[in-house]
Symmetry: C2
Subunit: 117 residues, 2 copies
Amino acid sequence: MATDPLSLTFAALADPTRRAILARLTEGPATVKELSAPFDMSGPAVSKHLRVLERAGLITRGRDAQWRPCELDATPLRQVSEWADGFRQFWDASYRRLDDYLAQLQANQPPDTDHPA
Amino acid sequence: MATDPLSLTFAALADPTRRAILARLTEGPATVKELSAPFDMSGPAVSKHLRVLERAGLITRGRDAQWRPCELDATPLRQVSEWADGFRQFWDASYRRLDDYLAQLQANQPPDTDHPA
DNA sequence: TAGTTAAATAACCAAGTGGTTAGGCATGAT
DNA sequence: ATCATGCCTAACCACTTGGTTATTTAACTA
């Protein structure tokens, strides 16, 4: 797998379980067991997901007796947002093309308001 | 692998080659050979990357004689941007915490400008 | 000391990834 | 009809992923 930061982040996000864990962590830190609760999945499976999130820098892990609380670190998501925003004009393109088409229609042959589509 | 649309999109983006292909396609449609040119990689390898992008709905493929031109479809990136934006307050949080700290410092014990840190 | 709880590690498995080479199939050119 | 081009599929490889169960480590508790 690619090991550059952006690729690690995207790879970490490419799993619904991990995205759900991040969503849960927006409400505050949680232990591994708390994070496991919503999922029909063994503890080690959740541990692996957490390791992927940690490698991507999306969570940090502390230590409190036998608990290892996880905390959200959303800073890598900033790069994700910025990368995606670079394509905004292209996902807007179809709508703009439709707007242009409608504007041109309006200018050249105004629709007959007596016969709306 | 997860097969929901957002996971497919994130997985497709988790590779620098595929992101470079998308960047190239912002300049307009291209054939597979044109897309392969910048990469030290066999044709089939690029074909596989294109299939991943196609499965994620990020490109569409046409047919022109023996060429199979690829075109960008950025609409899935809109969901990516919206998902990431949901975390904006959290990647801003550290800066806000710093601002708060500085503001509090300013109010309670104004820094000695003769002894800057 | 013995027992319980939280979490990690180890070992394993099926499936997927990212790459390769070899070969096949259309299409266009000679 | 033959050949070259563009691209695909097939088969293979080493490695990763997402899951499992069993075991181990670490810390608290009785």
